[in-house]
């Protein structure tokens, strides 16, 4: 990221945390964060502090990178986040398109 201020839509797409009236929410978990969201924008420094997200910067390149929420377990909620990934040919696939079926999601790699 090149800015410490993001739209709520971009923030949701990147992290799975959505701005709702009750606060920032991921699945069925909500955390009040009145100081981090205003006018459809998310203040990354404030939200990182609120959710235990690491924020690292590369000053010479003007780049920032935000880690996931921390301080508890790897999973904050059992609700699967919106996930869209491409296939080998670049066609996007939404995991949510498999609603109604059981899914065994397996991570593997060539290495």
């Amino acid at each position: 990221m090149t800015s410490l201020d993001q739209s709520v839509a971009d923030f949701d797409a990147a992290t799975g945390w959505a701005a709702k009236p009750e606060g920032m929410c991921k699945g069925d978990m909500c955390v009040p964060a009145p100081d981090a969201v205003s006018a459809g924008r998310v203040d990354l420094v404030a939200i990182a502090d609120r959710l235990g997200m690491a924020l690292v910067g590369d000053d010479t390149r003007g780049l920032w990178s935000l880690g996931p929420e921390s301080g508890g377990k790897a999973l904050t909620t059992a609700v699967v986040p919106n996930l869209e990934l491409p296939d080998l040919e670049g066609n996007p696939f939404k995991l949510s398109s498999l609603h109604g079926r059981k899914v065994l999601l397996v991570a593997w790699a060539s290495w």
């Binding site: 990178s65 880690g67 921390s70 377990k73 080998l88 065994l104």
Partner: protein, 236 residues
């Protein structure tokens, strides 16, 4: 392997989705084209499912029910016994290979039990003893201290720089990620393979990358307690 399981489980309502954690999708191509999957076969070049689902090694899997809720957290997903386990270690082998095979044999052999659990869940759904309640899924997922969040941020920065400037710009950020979260093997093996596997060749599994990363796969395994600690063993 996953294609065969998919064909067995598809009539029982289970879709297998494989996700390749490969920053260079072309490296995954030969494997995917050989397997010729008819199930969704996706590429996660940024390792996003590490932070989103708690993946930290391969193969690992999560189970998702019909409503889009996890019923098992990320855990080792071997579904058959590795052929490497049955190799008899003899004096003919070099020291390096002996060390690797010794630790591979020390890894817990959970393939048959895990496969049987998947089939049980396919047949019984939420009545399966292996399908967990949401609070159990969360409780059984791995701890995530702040260091792991920072590791994810550093790994992602490295991936971005790999894309925009090339591998050399990524190395320092990936080293930071490795130091912050040494038990995440996807961060390490992804970075190391770019040093140890020549273009166009099959993956170098021993990953002797002392020159750039000051370690190798086997040295790193031994530092973290050996093969017995290598996988997130399913608690079945």
């Amino acid at each position: 392997m996953w294609q065969a399981l998919y064909e067995e489980l598809e009539p029982k309502g289970v879709t297998v989705v494989t996700v390749a954690l490969d920053i260079d999708p072309e490296k995954a191509r030969r494997w995917i084209e050989t397997a010729a999957p008819t199930h969704p076969s996706l590429i996660d070049s940024q390792h996003r499912i590490d932070e989103l689902l708690g993946i930290s090694n391969v193969p690992m899997a999560v189970w998702i029910d019909e409503s889009g809720t996890l019923v098992r957290p990320a855990e080792a997903a071997a579904i058959k016994v590795s052929a490497l386990r049955s190799i008899e270690i003899t004096d003919d082998f070099g020291e390096s290979l002996k060390r690797v095979l010794t630790e591979v044999k020390a890894m817990p052999d959970t393939g048959d039990a895990y496969r049987a659990a998947i089939v049980d869940w396919a047949e019984k759904g939420s009545d399966s003893e292996f399908a967990l309640e949401p609070h159990e899924v969360i409780a059984r997922s791995r701890p995530r201290p702040k260091e792991h969040s920072e590791a994810a941020a550093c790994f992602a920065m490295g991936c971005h720089l790999f894309e925009t400037e090339g591998k050399d710009a990524a190395i320092e950020w990936w080293k930071r990620a490795h130091a912050l979260y040494p038990e995440n093997w996807t961060y390490k093996r992804q970075a190391w393979t770019l040093e140890s596997t020549p273009d166009g060749e099959a993956s170098d599994l021993s990953q002797e990358v002392e020159a750039v990363y000051g370690t190798s796969w086997i040295d790193s395994v031994l530092e973290l307690g050996g093969g017995a600690n290598y996988a997130v063993v399913p608690d079945l």
